[in-house]
């Protein structure tokens, strides 16, 4: 076989082989409840900020799991920390804690 030398690199695919799990591992180690998410959407549904902007906590967890940490941080920056998501989560995930942890991770202050 001849080594052709050309390849179409896939850019739209989520490549789980090479995703940045650093933030996800940190969050799992911190409180652990992030592992329990069933992506039901209660958080995003009750979100105060979601009325006006794209804040979506369910999607944030998904993005972090898939290694898209920067996008997750951008998505969550409009969060008012009101706590409705924590009150409705059926799996008892400590949502506000995770949001603050993500933001502190980016401030590199202390994790």
């Amino acid at each position: 076989m001849v080594d052709f030398g050309f390849k179409l690199s896939s850019s739209n695919r989520i490549d789980l082989d090479s995703c940045d799990s650093d933030l996800f591992l940190k969050l799992k180690a911190e409180s652990g409840t992030i592992k329990q998410c069933i992506a039901c959407g209660s958080c995003a549904s009750s979100c105060s900020a979601a009325n006006f902007t794209g804040v979506n906590f369910r999607k944030t967890i998904l993005l972090i799991e898939r290694g898209k940490n920067e996008e997750a941080k951008e998505l969550i920056k409009g969060c008012m920390l009101c706590g409705k998501c924590t009150l409705v989560c059926p799996r008892g995930i400590n949502t506000r804690e995770i949001i603050l942890s993500i933001n502190q991770y980016y401030k590199k202050e202390r994790f």
């Binding site: 409180s31 105060s48 009325n51 409009g78 008012m80 409705k84 009150l87 603050l100 980016y106 202390r110």
Partner: protein
Amino acid sequence: MKERIIFGYDPFVIPFTLGVIFILLYLGTGTVRILLNLKREEALNLLSSIFSVKLFKTFKDILFNVLLHIKIFKRNILLGYMHASIAFGWFMLIFIGHIEVILYTPQRNGVIYYPVFFRYFVMETSQTLRGAFFFFLMDLFLLIVLSGVALAIYKRFRSVRLGMKRTTRLKTGDKIALWSLWMIFPLRLLAESFTADISGGSFLTSTINNLLGEFAESTLYMDTIWWAYSCALALFLFALPFSRYMHIPTEILLIFLRNAGIKSTSSRDGFAESEIYSCSSCGICIDACPMSVSGNKSEYTSVYLLRKLRRRRQDSLFMAEQCLMCGKCVELCPVEIDSCRLKLLKKRENFPNKIFDYDYLGKREPVVESRANLEKKSKVLYYAGCMTHLTPQIYKSLFNIMDRAKIEYSFMDRDGSICCGRPLILSGGENTAKDLVEANSKIILSSNADILLLSCPICFKVFNENYNLNGVKVMHHSQYINLLIKEEKIKLKKGDFSVVYHDPCDLGRGSLVYTEPREVISAVAILKDSSNLPNESICCGGSLASRRFTQSERDSVTLHSLEKLNVNNPQKLVTSCPLCLKSFAKLNKRETLDIAQLVENQMI
């Protein structure tokens, strides 16, 4: 009275004197450091409060709190006596000692060690009435202090008898200071007993002198005991800065600063430093804290946090983030340290300010929907807030009540709220919350309402403290319903069922609204008491301030709180907070309802 030792000096005074010099230097530098950290305005306030009538109040506060520990007496008489006997007793010993020097050996005025070792240096050649009164007082106060020390030792073994389920764990510095403190007074008793036949003594020291018999004759034993006494004092004084007993001198400075209206602005420096060092590690906050119900969480109570702040530990932030901010430790603290404020400041100093972004709020146009005629000024603007949307029965009942009373009102956030901002502030984001405050203020002011009606105490507190609403009256719905009842706008019938009321943390301790909800409830049902006073009510566990509390830990706090509420067997539980309502309704076996629902059911 004559001097026994010509120069009024003996080598045994050296340890004590060194100790005093050390501590005076330490206190001096500390005080200067704290005062230098004050802002100009605060320093001016301090000066003006010293040179005014406030000085009397300060002295009174020092007498009542530092010496007599009145606040601790209110918690438990034995505990109060224990603290007061040692503090006041020891103060009187020093004070009367100085008077003795002034009266009887005025040539030794100003010698640091002389009043403390008075009975070593003087000699009564004949029985006169002269020293007898003071000797009696000194022996009396020594006895009082010794009884306090005995109680303190007893408390280490059976703290429950003094009203404390848990006591503070001690660090090494605390232990050295504690043991030397406990040794000082028995040693003093022994030392003064040895010289009682020479210098004169009273009922206690003379008696022991007689019991000692031959031993009292020996100068070797006498000198040894006085050396031991001096060393114990020295050890205590050297250990003082590294122990909890720094609270003795620091509390005096604290009272001066506090009475000048100064509050903490950093979590460690300035006023905060005087608060942190004033903590006596008495441990009253451990039993008070609702978290100490769930096992190891008593590690996060205020006393341990203050210790971590004092030692500038990194993990003090972690501890501050656990706190439910219910305010009970502040309420019960005998030194009135505002540890919740320190925690808030700590969080504020570490908040990722630049990352949160609320620009999108500025783009929203305020739209106020009104049920009434839009031309008329809508009297009441109701803001449900984030939490009440999850407990709609509260506002539905409230609207029924207001409809019956023919009140004109608008529902500000019918289609979703901009958060009031307090959860963000409680996480340390007070600067970032300014955007939320601005957005909400715009809406409220453009509605032209007289009253901003709130059903959530968290919102109530923040609208009162952090918003500037240009004269719009901020009312909680329990207050408003009370007003409607007083103005006879609604007619109610009194039910024959019993009800217990839970004071929400932010409404009770947080905003000092205790009586209006109780007046409302008494008008419609039989009000029973819980096991706690209104200002000592236990947090429901739902607090948003705690970042790291898990659901099961919150549930154990809720169950503990329910146990105390249901102690008199009420039929129903009434709350005035949606968060409390949610937390209690989840686990309470009895009917749980909001105050608005209670009143709606009893309307005629």
